[in-house]
Amino acid sequence: MTREGLAFASPSQFGAPWYSGIDYGPLLRMFDDYAPGDICITNDPYSGNVATHSPDLHIWKPVFYRGRLACFVVGHIHNTDVGGAVPASLSRSLTEIAQEGVRIPPVKLVAGGVMNDFAVAVMRANVRLPDQNWGDLNAQIASVNIGERKMQEIIARFGFDAFIGGAERVLDYAEAQARAVLSRVPDGEYFFADSADEDSVGGKPCRIALTLRVSGDEVELDYTGSDLQLSSSLNMPTGGRERHPLVMVGLTYVLFTLDDSLLLNAGTLRPARAVLPEGTVVNCAPGAAVGMRSLTCALTQIVTVGAFAQALPDLMPAASPGGNAIMNVKTAARNGRPVMASIGPVGGGGGTPFCDGSDGAGGATGFLRNTPIEISEAEVPIRFLRYGLEPDTGAPGQFRGGLSAVMEFQVTAPETVVTARNRNRSIMPGWGLRGAHPGRVSRFLRNPGPAEQQLRNADLVHCDPGDVIRVVGPGAGGWGDPFLRDPRAVLRDLARGAISAASAEADYGVVIRDGRIDAAATAARRARRRAVPGGLFSHAAERRAFEAVWSVARYDALTAFLAQMPVGWRYFLKHRVFEAVAALPDAAAQDAAATAAAMARIFADLCTRFDLPAPRLAAE
C-alpha cells in the first residue's frame, strides 16, 4: 500500500483475487500516528469499510525507512470461525452483525514492540477453537514482518524517493492499462439484473441490478435498483465507497479477461466508479448482518458479466453460476475433541465464445483450493462416498458449461453440524448466452434415495451417524447453439461420461450408435431443430416464471418505493409487497400504465395499513 492506503502490488498466485484494488485509507487514518514496529488489526466491517465480514481479520504494518514512513504492508486471513451464533460464524439466518462473532475494532496489536495481550485474550475468549485463530494470527504477524523486511530491501536498493515515485507510476501504469481496455468497449448503457434464490431462510429472491455506463475510457457501475437492505446477512458493507472492492470484483475479472497483462492494483479501478444507494444490499447501514456478503458479491460479478456481454457479445462468457458452497463439518473426534474441516464442491465455469467452461471449478472461484478428501477423512470422522464431476450438469451449448462437482459423504459421529455457506442457485439457475441452454439448479440432499430430504439452500444441517450428505454444485450456462457444436466434441463428452446418450441426441442433435457418430441421422436430427431461443440471454424456466410475475418494471417500482421507506421497514415491506403482487395478473397482461397503477395501489395500501408516510409516485 502507498502511504495513503492504495494497493500498488498484490499477489497474483494465491489468495482471493477480490482485493487487488483495495484502499486501506479509511483504516490507516483511524490512527493519529504510526511508529516502527506497530502492527494493527481489525475485523470490523463498520470501521472504515475495509473488512467485509467478521472472519476476515485484516492486519497492517507501517514500513519505515530511516525514520520516514514509506508504505504499508497489509493482508487478511479468513478465520474458519470467529465465534457468534453458528459454527464458522456465517449463516444467512443471522440478522445483525452482533450475531456474527467477535468484533475487533481497529487496534494496535503490537505497539512499541509490545503485544496487546488484552486484544488477543478478547479474541481467544470469543471464538470456538482459539488455537486455530492464534495460529492464523501468528501467520499474519509473520507475513507482515517479512513484507516489511522485503520492502525495506527494495527501498535500500532504489532509494526512498525513487521508491515513492515508482509506486505512483505503477498505479498510473495500471490505470492506463485499464483505460486502454475500456476504450475498446462500445460506449453505451447496459442493464442487467439477476437474483439470489432467497433473501433469508425460505425467503424471497434478492435482486442485484446493474446499469453499466461506458463512456470513452471510463465506466460507471450504477447499482440503483438492487434490493434494499435485508434483515438477513446478505448485505454488503461498502459504506457507499465508490471503488469498494466488493462491487468491483466483476469489473476486475472482465478487464483481466480482456487483457491478462493487467497489473491489478488500485490504479486499475481509477477509471471506474460505482453508485451505491444507502440502505440497500450493496450499501447497508451499520449494524446490519453481512456474513454472507460473498453470495451477494458473486451476484454483482454475474450482473457485471451480463452487462458486459451486451457490450461485447463476441468476447464474454456465460457467467460462472455463483452459489458455490463452502462447507464446513464440525463434529467430535473419537477422543471427544471438537474438530472442524473445510470442504466443498463447486459448479463449473460458463461456456465461452472460444471453448467450453472449466469443469468442476467455476471461473469466478478458481482461487479456492481443493481439500483432498483423504485429508478431510483423516481430520474429521466422515467417510467420502463420491467426489467427482456430475454428468449432464454443464449446460449444452456450442461451447458447453463446465461440469459441476459432486460430493457425497457419510457422517459417523453424533452431533455433527454441516454448515454450507453461500448456498444459492437451488431454485433459479444461471443463464446461457446466444442460444445455449441455461444452467441447472444445484442439489443438496440428505440421505439420497427414496426417503431423501431436499436441503436446497439450507446453510446449517444437523446430522446423526449414518446420515449421507450429497451436494452437486450449480450448473454453468453454455455459449452458443448446441446444435452447432462439433459432433466430435459431443462424442468425446459421451465417451468421457460428461454427458449422457440421451443428452447427446436431445440437446445436441447428435446421434451416436455403437460409439460412432451416425452422420446421416445427426444431419436429419439437426434439421428438425427446435426453435432457437432468440436474444442474447437464455433463461431457465424457473427464472421465466419468476419474471412473468416480477417484470423489470414491477421490480423497479418495488425498489423505488422501498427506498423511500425507513431502513428498518424495508425488508418487512418487501415481503408484504411480494405477497400482494402474487395476486396480480401476469406482468405481460398489464400495460405500463396499469402496472404503475397496480403497484402504486399496493404501496399506498401498505402505507395506510402500517401508518407510514405515503410514497411519492415514480411519475411525480
Partner: protein, 500 residues
C-alpha cells in the same frame, strides 16, 4: 486382476509411484507416469541396444529428478522419476564443484537461451521439494528444487502499447536466436542488449560456431530506443535491468520458501548465459559474490556423471507427536530401512556403504501443509521431534509455537550409495599480473567505460583485477561490472565479489 483381463495394458498404481496422502496429487503423478512410460521405455530399449552394438558393457545409469541415478530397469518402470533430471543434474554438478572448491552455500544459476534456473545448495546438497511443475501439472515426487524463470539470453525485448519496455516471455531461442548471431533473428534479445553494450563478442564463442555482429544487435535495439526516446546504450541497459529484475523476483520467492538469506550465498553461474548476467543478479540479491567455474557449459553433464545412486521412501502415518505417536515410528521406520537397503544392495547391486538420511513431514495440528524436518535417527522421542519441527518452522516462517500440538504426517527416508568422483585439477599459479588481450568501450548503465578483455585460458591462480572487465572463453563470456573485483582461485574458478 487387470493383468488377467488385459495382459498388454500398462498399469501404474499411484500407491507404488509415490505413496502419499492426498489423492489428487498422488493420482496426477501416476497419470503423468503412465503417459510418459511407453515412449520412454521404448527409447531406453533402443538406447541399451545401441550401446551393446557399440560394445559398451558397463551398467547404464539414468539420472533422476531427485539428483541421483538409478539402474535402467527401474528407469523403464518409473519413467516419471526422470522428468526433471536435466535441471537436477546441473544442480548436482554445481553442488559438487562448489563443495570441492570450498563454497559452503551457493545458489546455482543456470541461464540458457529461454530460462534461468536457480537452486539452493548447502554443503553440496541441494534442497528438495515436491509438486514441481511441468506445464500445468504438479509432479509429486521428491525433486531437486529448482525455480525456473522465463528469462534467458534469447528473451525478446519489446515496447508495449503503453510505451513500457518489456522483456519476455517470448524467446528467440536458438533459432532464429539473437539478432547478433546472424542466424535470421531480427528481434532484440537480452544477448543483443549485451552485444549492443559491447560487453560480449570480443573472443570466439561456441567453439567458433558463433560470431557476434555488434551492428546487428544495435540495429535490433534501435527502434525500441527510438520509441522510448533514449540512446541504444541506455535501452540496452534497461533491457538487462528488466530481465534481471524478473530473475530477482523469482529468486526472492525461492529464498523465502527455503528460509535462507542470499547474503550468505555465492551465485554459482553456468549455462551459456549464466556468467554474462550473474553479476547483475548478484547486485540485486546482495549475494556474497559470484563463482564462475572453468567450463560453465558442461556443468550439467558433470552432474550426471558424478551423481550417486539415490532413492526416496515414504510412509504416511498421520500421528500426533506425543509419546504414543513417537513410539509408533519404530516399526514403519524399520520397514522403510529394510526396503531401502534392499533397493540399494539388492536391486541396484551396490556394494559400498549406504548413506541413510531421515526426515518427516510435520505440521501444527490444523495446518494444511507440512514442513520436511530433518530427523536425527538417535533422537526420535516426542520431545526431540517437536524441537526439530519448531526449529524448522521458525526458520521458514519466522516464529514457532512451542505449546501447539504437532502432527507427523509422513516419515521419509533417503538412501544413497556414493559413486566415485574425480578430483578437481588445480591450475598453475600466476607469475605476474593478468594481461588483457584488448581494451574496449563497454557500456554499463548507459555509461561508456574503458573495459579490458581477458582470455579465460590466460588466467592463473591468484590473478586479481577490478571491474569493469570482460573474460571471454569458448563456452561463455563473463561480464564484470564496475564495483566488482575478480579473483582466480586455485581451481581456476573466477570468484567475483563486490568491492567494499
Amino acid at each position: 486382476m487387470i493383468a488377467d483381463l488385459a495382459p498388454n495394458l500398462a498399469v501404474v498404481a499411484s500407491a507404488e509411484t509415490w505413496p502419499i496422502i492426498r489423492e489428487y496429487e498422488r493420482t496426477i503423478t501416476a497419470v503423468i507416469s503412465g503417459y510418459v512410460q511407453p515412449r520412454i521405455a521404448h527409447y531406453l530399449d533402443r538406447f541399451e541396444a545401441a550401446l551393446a552394438e557399440k560394445g559398451v558393457t558397463c551398467p547404464v545409469h539414468i539420472t533422476k529428478s531427485n539428483g541421483g541415478v538409478m539402474g535402467i530397469e527401474q528407469a523403464r518402470a518409473e519413467c516419471v522419476q526422470m522428468i526433471l533430471s536435466g535441471t537436477a543434474s546441473g544442480v548436482i554438478g554445481a553442488g559438487h564443484l562448489a563443495r570441492q572448491c570450498g563454497f559452503a552455500r551457493v545458489l546455482s544459476l543456470d541461464i540458457g537461451g529461454t530460462s534461468a534456473d536457480v537452486a539452493v545448495i548447502v554443503d553440496g546438497q541441494p534442497q528438495f521439494g515436491m509438486g514441481e511443475r511441468i506445464g500445468d501439472f504438479h509432479i509429486h515426487l521428491p525433486t531437486v528444487s529448482v525455480s525456473s524463470v522465463g528469462q534467458g539470453g534469447g528473451s525478446v525485448a519489446w515496447v508495449d502499447p503503453l510505451g513500457m519496455l518489456r522483456v519476455g516471455p517470448d524467446s528467440a531461442g536458438s533459432t532464429p536466436g539473437p539478432a547478433c548471431y546472424g542466424r535470421g533473428g531480427r528481434r532484440a534479445t537480452v544477448t543483443d542488449a549485451m552485444a549492443a553494450a559491447n560487453l560480449i563478442g570480443h573472443s570466439p564463442l561456441g567453439y567458433g560456431a558463433v560470431r557476434v555482429d555488434h551492428a546487428a544487435a544495435r540495429a535490433a535495439i534501435a527502434p525500441l530506443a527510438e520509441r522510448l526516446g533514449i540512446s541504444v546504450e541506455e535501452a540496452a541497459a534497461h533491457i538487462v535491468d528488466i530481465s534481471v529484475s524478473s530473475m530477482y523476483a523469482e529468486v526472492s520467492a525461492l529464498t523465502a520458501r527455503f528460509g535462507i538469506d542470499p547474503r550468505a550465498f555465492h551465485l554459482f553461474a553456468f549455462g551459456g548465459a549464466g556468467a554474462m548476467l550473474a553479476c547483475f543478479l548478484a547486485r540485486e540479491l546482495g549475494t556474497k559474490g559470484v563463482v564462475v567455474p572453468p567450463t560453465p557449459g558442461v556443468v550439467s553433464a558433470l552432474g550426471g556423471l558424478i551423481a550417486d545412486l539415490r532413492n526416496d521412501f515414504i510412509r504416511t502415518l498421520y500421528v500426533d507427536v506425543d509419546a504414543a505417536g513417537a513410539a509408533a515410528l519404530a516399526a514403519p521406520l524399520a520397514e522403510l530401512r529394510a526396503t531401502a537397503l534392499d533397493w540399494l544392495h539388492g536391486r541396484q547391486g551396490f556394494r559400498g556403504k549406504a548413506r541413510i538420511t531421515l526426515s518427516a513431514d510435520i505440521r501444527y495440528a490444523g495446518q494444511a501443509y507440512e514442513i520436511e524436518t530433518p530427523l536425527d535417527p538417535e533422537a526420535l522421542d516426542a520431545e526431540a521431534l517437536r524441537a526439530a519441527f519448531h526449529a524448522a518452522h521458525r526458520r521458514f516462517h519466522g516464529h514457532a509455537d512451542a505449546s501447539a500440538p504437532v502432527q507427523l504426517i509422513n516419515l521419509r527416508l533417503v538412501i544413497a550409495g556414493a559413486t566415485p568422483k574425480p578430483a578437481l585439477p588445480e591450475i598453475a599459479r600466476a607469475a605476474g599480473p593478468a594481461v588483457p588481450v584488448v581494451e574496449v568501450t563497454g557500456w554499463f548503465g548507459g555509461r561508456g567505460l574503458a573495459t579490458p578483455v581477458h582470455r579465460r585460458g590466460d588466467l592463473r591462480a591468484g590473478h586479481r583485477f577490478a571491474g569493469p572487465a570482460i573474460i571471454g572463453q569458448e563456452d561463455t563470456t563473463t561480464v564484470v561490472p564496475p564495483g566488482f573485483a575478480v579473483e582466480v582461485d586455485r581451481f581456476g574458478n573466477l570468484v567475483i565479489t563486490r568491492e567494499a
